[in-house]
């Protein structure tokens, strides 16, 4: 039997900023439909790993494979077109545009009509419906036509996700989607992520262990640029090494 192809896979990725090693021989596999958490202390290199996967940073060595095909040398935007999409830990939005315009832009780019300038924007009715539908689905429908910089922080976090979804990703990399969102709202945000169709494979970074154990089916622990261990939530919760380095001995089992 042939092993099923992983949605996303890294092979021996290495990256150093000067003397600081931030990715040390990272080999990580994300099977189709995964709900995979990447955890680790601040500065462990989690965001850097997403940057390496998406081509924002070039690795010193190693490969990235999407759906079994090597993508290591490809530009970021080309990787996105192939279905590898991320969100940002720090809001990376279009402050003066409205959520409607922002998501619409993403839809138009995906549809390959972003360079078209003969017909006006308003003529793209299907794209507009899709963008607005997505915003409504994430609870941003009422604020879709306000400038993004006027939105509440939590709404901006939702827009981060809406933008990524508008590209119709195959693999979604979420960098602390609930960062800065009040605890009362972060669960709802993760419910939205959990409700994503299973043909989207998700890797998410998250510091809140309750959320991680609730929503991840597998967990990778990253410490100082190295994979400390990987396992099911149960295994990670009871791993003495993890407890010592990361959980500080707190009881999460």
């Amino acid at each position: 039997m042939i092993a099923p192809v992983n949605a996303l896979e890294t092979g021996h990725l290495n990256k150093a900023f000067g003397k600081l090693v931030v990715a040390d021989d990272i080999s990580l596999a994300l099977p189709q439909g995964a709900r995979h958490a990447l955890i680790g202390p601040n500065g462990a290199g989690k965001t850097t790993l997403i940057n390496l996967m998406t081509g924002v940073l070039p690795p010193d060595s190693g490969q990235v494979r999407l759906d079994g095909k090597e993508i290591t040398g490809l530009e970021s935007d080309v990787r996105v077109k192939r279905g590898l999409v991320r969100t940002f830990q720090i809001n990376t939005l279009f402050p003066k545009l409205t959520p409607l315009e922002s998501v619409l832009m993403a839809v138009l780019e995906r549809e390959g009509i972003s360079g078209q300038w003969i017909a006006p924007l308003a003529a793209r009715r299907d794209a507009i419906d899709e963008a607005f539908g997505l915003l409504t689905q994430l609870g941003l429908g009422d604020d879709a036509t306000r400038p993004t910089h006027d939105l509440a922080y939590g709404q901006q976090r939702l827009l981060e996700i809406a933008l990524a979804l508008a590209t119709k990703p195959k693999v979604l990399l979420l960098d602390e989607p609930a960062a800065g969102v009040p605890k009362s709202e972060s669960a709802a945000l993760f419910e939205a992520i959990a409700a994503l169709p299973t043909d989207i494979s998700v890797l998410f970074i998250e510091h809140d262990m309750n959320l991680v154990f609730t929503f991840a089916s597998r967990i990778t622990v990253l410490v100082q640029g190295r994979i400390l261990t990987e396992g099911s939530p149960d295994e990670i919760a009871h791993d003495p090494q993890v407890r010592e380095v990361y959980l500080g001995g707190a009881d999460h089992g």
Partner: protein
């Protein structure tokens, strides 16, 4: 909120717009018949200013050398005419193609740099072209300017006369048509994409947009339009000087755009009108102090109306509506 309605409303032609063209641009035709040469210069400058707005206001590319393309267009049309083909419309088309081609070549460099490097490259480009045109004196006329331009009758009917009626109508018509084209562009999917790139290029990349290709496209288009403006000047004044390429023109056009307000097209037109009329009036009174006043005006606008005069007027109108 219906998203379709909202987008349509945003793109629709407002009553202000309908009023703007006849009042601001056609009126001088009757009011100041002796001022027509200034009026056509304003129309030409407004077109040039719009070309800068496309890259600066919409796509966020700062340039201190955009006169390079204006000048290339002027020399292209001028040389074509001086060598025996003075038909104005084909001259415009020729200038547009030459300037757009130059813009396309330069765009490969432009989209790879940002901030200070971008300023220096565009600045350097302007200097380079002035020197080039100067040293090719036998071809371009050098510091004396290009002579021997003869613009044929417009559409074989209207002669470009001393009083400049044809020149003004011609410049205004070209401005109006290209304005409509630019208005289309900025309200299209492409225009939205450019604004998104201006707002956050990292995010557009993360959404799959090939930023550089998009920016190269608008830069090429903008250079072509700047070239048409330059060609209009060459055809209507029947001369081209080195200044058409120079830094002063590049800087002035940026000042006009910032005065009028970036990213709204009308700001470019308004800025050109205010700047050119003020220069005409103030320089008439006291030539030395002209830059004093424009400097003061620029500082006041930047400090108190960060979105330009038109942006300030919009805020005033919104304020008035709320009361």
């Amino acid at each position: 909120m219906d998203p379709h309605l909202w987008l349509k409303r945003k793109g629709r032609i407002s009553p202000y717009e309908v009023a703007f063209w006849p009042i601001v641009l056609v009126l001088p035709f009757w009011l100041f018949p002796t001022y027509l040469s200034l009026s056509s210069q304003i129309a030409i400058t407004a077109l040039f200013c719009i070309s800068l707005d496309l890259i600066l206001g919409y796509a966020g590319i700062i340039s201190l050398g955009h006169a390079a393309f204006f000048g290339i267009g002027a020399y292209a049309a001028g040389l074509l005419s001086a060598h025996g083909w003075g038909e104005p419309l084909s001259g415009l088309a020729f200038a547009a193609v030459v300037a757009a081609f130059a813009g396309w070549i330069v765009s490969f460099m432009i989209v790879r740099v940002q901030h200070l490097a971008l300023l220096m490259i565009t600045l350097g480009l302007g200097f380079l072209l002035v020197e080039l045109a100067n040293s090719l004196g036998s071809f371009t006329g050098g510091a004396d300017g290009l002579q021997g331009i003869d613009t044929w009758k417009l559409l074989g009917v209207w002669k470009f006369s001393f009083w400049g009626k044809t020149a003004y109508a011609y410049s205004l018509a070209v401005l109006f048509i290209l304005f409509l084209v630019c208005r289309r562009i900025v309200r299209s999917p492409f225009g939205l994409t450019l604004e998104a790139i201006r707002e956050n290029p990292d995010r557009t990349t993360a959404l799959g947009a090939p930023n550089r290709a998009h920016l190269q496209k608008i830069f090429t288009l903008s250079a072509g339009i700047a070239g048409i403006a330059g060609a209009l000047l060459a055809q209507t004044t029947e001369t081209v000087s080195l200044e058409s390429l120079g830094f002063q023109r590049s800087a002035e056009i940026a000042i006009m755009l910032i005065l009028g307000g970036t990213g709204r097209l009308y700001g470019a037109i308004l800025g050109a009108i205010i700047f050119m009329v003020a220069r005409d009036q103030l320089a008439g009174m006291n030539p030395q102090y002209w830059y004093f006043w424009i400097g003061l005006l620029l500082m006041i606008v930047v400090l108190f109306m960060p979105r330009g005069i038109l942006g300030g007027l919009e805020r005033l109108a919104a304020f008035g509506r709320r009361r």
